[in-house]
Symmetry: C2
Subunit: 210 residues, 2 copies
């Protein structure tokens, strides 16, 4: 929803995090929180929280704080999560299986609606409640499903090709788990989750006692 205002990327990333925190609070029957509460409870910076929200309007009441339900609803709307988003998965391997079987997805308003692979031994088999489909069918399948988000869970060597197939199937946003850089048209957004990169950063922070 890239509207008029220019929202910093770190703000956007935190926004999604706030949602998680609010789910937690709801479970604990917390109805109202102040930004200071949030800071002590969830380690988020109070000033930053308020600043983040300020890009999108006014959300709280001075002297009181924020209504958990209302804030959750409004952040969901900001992130286009008011209705469930369909997601395509390419690569029905180990990671793909974990993702397809990942239940919180549903409650957070995402749903993997189709899984694709190019391995003839996998095509037609079940992956949880999905039947694995031939990647060659992706364009026609998505003509029906109209998903706009795709996940790449194929080996790095097939990632570029997969990205191109997703784009040709009309997907506009891609989450890439393969450890490789992907060239895409500028109207497509890619986010990259790189497990090895995260481990490498941690490794840097190891104390060098040995």
């Amino acid at each position: 929803m890239p509207n008029g205002i220019k929202v910093p990327m770190p703000t956007l990333e935190r926004l999604a995090n706030y949602l998680t925190i609010f789910s937690d609070l709801k479970i604990r029957n917390v109805e109202t929180v102040s930004s200071a509460d949030l800071e002590s409870r969830a380690g988020i910076n109070a000033a930053q929280f308020r600043k983040d929200l300020s890009y999108f309007g006014e959300f709280g009441r001075p002297g009181i704080g924020y209504n958990v339900n209302e804030l959750q609803a409004r952040i969901s709307r900001i992130l286009n999560l008011q209705k469930t988003q369909s997601v395509l998965l390419v690569g029905a391997g180990n990671l793909g299986a974990a993702l397809a079987g990942y239940h919180p997805l549903r409650t957070e308003n995402f749903q993997i609606v189709a899984a694709f692979d190019n391995n003839p031994n996998k095509i037609g088999k079940q992956l949880w409640d999905l039947t694995i489909q031939d990647i060659d069918e992706i364009i026609s399948v998505n003509k029906v499903l109209q998903a706009r988000i795709g996940i790449i869970a194929v080996p790095a060597s097939a990632a570029q090709e997969t990205a191109e197939r997703l784009v040709s199937a009309n997907v506009v946003n891609i989450l890439n788990f393969a450890p490789t850089f992907i060239r895409i048209p500028s109207n497509v957004t890619v986010r990259h989750i790189d497990f090895l990169q995260e481990l490498a950063v941690l490794s840097y922070y190891l104390p060098e006692d040995d």
Copy 2:
């Protein structure tokens, strides 16, 4: 390796990425690259690449560029990857299974050396080449293994408890896959991979055609 110089976190994150790119280049028998080559090949900004490296010394030769082998070796050393790092995995569920079976780990100098769970039905079973162990044994097991990095792949509700167990087992760096905030002592570094957060950010960037 938090030595004298203060390295920006984004630089560190990119450094790990550069390693991936160099592996690629080696496969294609590229011996030397300039920062400009890198920009056109891998979408990284040439000036930024040079700046990133400059925190750690001099790596290239004016007029020529960088030697791929040498640079890979030096970045590996910066990130403490010159020798294999042992990693503990807690949570032998869907995600844990994918991670434990993830082969590139080995080639990138990480190795999951033990998997733990608290489910009696899982303890003792095999997870690829590992035998799933009782989480209650983590302290004694790691007295022997001496791993310093831990992965949390348990449900969010058990994440805090798991973090504490890892810390008490002498782990100093944690990679958390559970969608929740974790309180840890300040000498421990945590990195958080949040799949739902990434999807939410993508969702924000959906064009609002509907």
